[in-house]
Symmetry: none
Subunit: 223 residues, 4 copies
């Protein structure tokens, strides 16, 4: 396992006496970078401290232990992601349109925040019990959003509850498909967020049943 530097943005030039909030943000930024690059266990507090340009004792004073620091990262990034998606969804819109917007917002966010996404997707889920709380909370919010959307959609069509009364596992499955596509995207960076979003709509809205008949999904139909 190579150990090339987590380089990039030069460490903020150790300005002294910054207000606590600023320091905390610097630390979290660095931590997300490092956790994303190395993974939770392989990341060292030393490297976080280096990248942040802030000494370790400060990190411990402000954000607590490594575990707490990681939890804070998850929480912040999950919130950012949820806000990005929540911002484009409008309850008054057509469910299909809403889903499209949400999915597009998701891929846009992932495209612009690789590190955040890596931490949320690859690290948070992998590190066992300690972070279950933060992760579960984030996932719960996401699933609830989609779930509600599906329920409203079904209601609007007069169909009532579908999917054996549980939209929630389907919502989970949708996020899983989204994560897998995002993963695939990493190795095919030439694709646009829109193309990726369309792929997910094809699977999730049309289903293979339609696809194999030549019926694909496109934003134009919905818009």
């Amino acid at each position: 396992m190579t150990k090339k530097d987590v380089a990039g943005a030069t460490p903020p030039p150790r300005a002294k006496r910054l207000p606590r909030a600023v320091r905390e943000r610097q630390i979290l930024d660095a931590a997300v970078r490092v956790f994303s690059e190395r993974g939770y266990h392989a990341a060292s507090m030393d490297e976080v401290s280096d990248v942040a340009g802030i000494s370790k004792p400060m990190i411990y004073a402000y954000l607590g232990s490594k575990e707490e620091l990681f939890a804070a990262c998850i929480q912040r990034e999950a919130t950012r992601l949820m806000e990005a998606i929540g911002g484009v969804v409008d309850v008054d819109l057509d469910p299909e349109e809403q889903l499209w917007r949400g999915v597009l917002a998701f891929f846009t966010f992932v495209g612009e925040n690789r590190d955040s996404w890596q931490v949320l997707h690859r690290q948070a889920g992998t590190q066992g019990a300690p972070f279950a709380a933060e992760l579960a909370e984030g996932r719960r919010r996401a699933v609830a959003m989609i779930s509600a959307l599906l329920d409203r959609a079904a209601g609007r069509e007069g169909v009532g509850a579908f999917a054996e009364g549980r939209t929630e596992p389907l919502a989970a499955a949708l996020t899983g498909a989204g994560e897998a596509l995002a993963e695939w995207w990493l190795e095919h960076p030439e694709e646009s967020p829109k193309a990726m979003a369309r792929r997910l709509m094809n699977l999730s809205w049309m289903g293979f049943g339609n696809l194999v008949l030549g019926r694909a999904w496109s934003p134009e139909k919905s818009a």
Copy 2:
């Protein structure tokens, strides 16, 4: 981070002087358990050795370094999974039926081999370069299988390539959805493999577009 034992099956009662093949299997069994429980980094060779009831030097002698041991786990479990699915798929069948059988075999395997699944799903993908080879190979086989299936299905309908010519990201998305459902399943163990498989078919074959109109997927239609 708590450190409760990876207990359970009593360690094989230290039978002495067993042939190498047997020991290797015992070691791999233990390693899958421990990696699954703790994750790659947090797992210690000491614990693997304890759980296996075999001293560390033997582990190193037979399976090599921690990295190699992990790779061996991935390879073995991936092969088992692929065989479980490959065993029920029959190329002469209807694609829809094939997908259903494959998906059902998947959830059946996951239900019966939680640890294998955890290692493959949660750990293998997360640990960076060293295991890319093993993982990529496994994933490639899986995706190829689904991809081929979709291609054949489209061909049979006379539609030719669909999904912008790439079935592969869709296959990836399908596995992602499967993984997420398997994950959800862990917290809802009362569900049957069949119910889980039906959920995945609903999403992937029908799509939300149908579901919100009250049209769901069921094995009967297909069988």
Copy 3:
């Protein structure tokens, strides 16, 4: 192999929070002691840490790996030895006188720095490639010094190059003889540095050919 402590000088009374430079010196002192006593391989970082009265993490932080630590020892001690000899040699002097001074300085240093000498002589040459650089550099400087001296001597006598044009292997042989005498000295500590130096002059300046005829070397003649 017995494992009696490398005791002796009481470990510096764990003064807390010393500046880095001081700690580094303490560590090197201890390392020279231990490497000298045990040999490179048999020496353990634990023992170095014990003798230095400094925890292992500090050693690694300041001096790097065992290999780097050993290299640092060689370098420091080689430099000290070279300085001890270089300090008494004066290019304007008679070559014979210069050699005498250098040889005397050598035995004086060895007498006062047994450990340094052990590390340089017994360990550095034995441990293969990794330390070739440090050692070769030291040896090169030593041999160059003697070699130059012989060349000047020959030049002064109008003889031009002698010894088949290569003084360098002879210089090496001289150091070898010096090392062997130093070794012998360890078991005959009652001898003075001066007596040892005279022995080496007898061999190297007079040669056995003279010695067997009763012609010996003495500092008076030269001075």
Copy 4:
């Protein structure tokens, strides 16, 4: 530290049921190779066993512990060297001629038995107390031989004891010079044993005092 194989002579093709004496020789041959290549500590019994083509339990049964095995190597090789030198020295000859023959025999042996020499010179002296016995014994024999030679020479000249009554440290110095030259030879393999021997005679018989005056030693004068 690289770990390329100690290759070369193919391991004797595991013939079964060989007489003990043969096995012991095979083991010692392998051990000398490995100790020479790796050094005492870095050498592993596993590698000795591999190179010898004999299982470890046999090695322990025949030659005892690693320490004892090493001691046996030293003893055997030291004896071989002493016999090589002793074989050409003839007490009735001129001392100068004797020395020349002995020195030539020494370099001839070293040239033909690099491994033996490495073990004796580089390893034996370096590994601390345990092997002092074997080594000291060997050295004692060598020094005694030279010492006696010098004494006889002095006696023949009617000079009586010289060198402050101790020829023994001078003999030690001579061997040291020889070792250093042998070492230098490793990096200049184009030189012949004879050339090396002449170098040592120049230093030890003539001394620098003569050399700088243009008087060198040559076998012809002596023969």
